[in-house]
Structure formats: structure tokens, C-alpha cells
Amino acid sequence: MQVARVIGAVVATRKDPALHGLKLLVLQPLDREQNAVGRPLVAADSTGAGTGELVFFVRGREAAFPFYPAEPPVDAAIVGIVDPRPLEAGL
């Protein structure tokens, strides 16, 4: 799993029927200092995340597991929203 920032959303009318109803968000993976690293990717959302939020996501076939018993053709899924750090932790 990796930590990423949600930077956008994909709108696609024509798509695989198994993708209908899924929210597809654009993620920018981050390094330990929360700087962008690597290219953005698109992930299916299982958590209700939105643009600007810090999330973690899973890659591979396991990305379809949150949507069981449906088996959408996805290779990345957001599976958690990172809690904001308390202010005393100094961000």
C-alpha cells in the first residue's frame, strides 16, 4: 500500500458496466515528506475520499476486494483516509 494525495476525479460516461457507480479519483503518490513522487494514477474509491485528502491505496487484484461480491476491473483502490495529525505533532 502507498500514501497519496487525491488531486482530481475522472469522469467517464462510456465504461465497463462493472465500473458504474464507482468513484474514480486521480492520486499523486507521496514520499515520506509528502512530496509528489512518481506519476499520478487513477484509483477506485471505497472510502468516500475527496480532492485534497490524504489517503492510502492498494494496487493489484486486491484492489477489487473492497467491492466484493462485485469484481470491477480495477488495479488500484483507495482503502483508507489518513487522519489529520494533531497540531502539537508539528504537521
Partner: protein
């Protein structure tokens, strides 16, 4: 998944039997500025995408096989959506 631009169709007469009836597209993954990023990939198309369209590309064998509605197909990439637009990027 990645966002990619359709380069064009690829035709192959001699191929694995699981590819029969499948449409193959050469696709170029693009970055957030719509610039090409990385090598051109070959993907099965399950949504009827056309040349120059911006598409959603899934890079996983099982997911690509599911999209084709075939089990055990020797594939690792599929076009699963045609992108209208990307918000916020």
C-alpha cells in the same frame, strides 16, 4: 489505472485463441499535462474506444481478463473506460 491516449488499432491474424474477437489498441499513457509518459502499451479494448480518445487503462491481468469476459486470457492491460474529462488536475 492510468490515463492514456489511443494511438491506433493493432491487427494480428495469428494470435492466441483467447484473443479471437478481441480488439487490440496501442495506447500511450499520459501524465497530468497530457504529455506522453513511458512506453506505448498494447491493451484489449472492451468499450469501443477510437483513435485519439482519452481512456482509462487498467494494468492487471485478472482485471483485464474480467473486462474481456474471458478467464485465463494471456492479457495484462485493458481499456475499460472513455474519459469525458478529468476534474481538478
Amino acid at each position: 489505472m492510468l490515463i492514456a491516449r489511443v494511438v491506433g488499432p493493432l491487427v494480428a491474424t495469428q494470435k492466441h485463441k483467447k484473443f479471437e474477437g478481441a480488439k487490440l489498441l496501442l495506447v500511450q499513457p499520459i501524465d497530468e499535462r497530457n504529455e506522453p509518459h513511458g512506453p506505448v502499451l498494447l491493451a484489449v479494448d472492451t468499450v469501443g474506444a477510437g483513435v485519439h480518445e482519452k481512456v482509462l487503462l487498467v494494468l492487471d491481468g485478472k482485471a483485464a481478463g474480467d473486462a474481456m469476459l474471458k478467464k485465463g486470457a494471456p492479457v495484462d492491460a485493458a481499456v475499460v473506460g472513455i474519459i469525458d474529462h478529468v476534474e481538478g488536475v
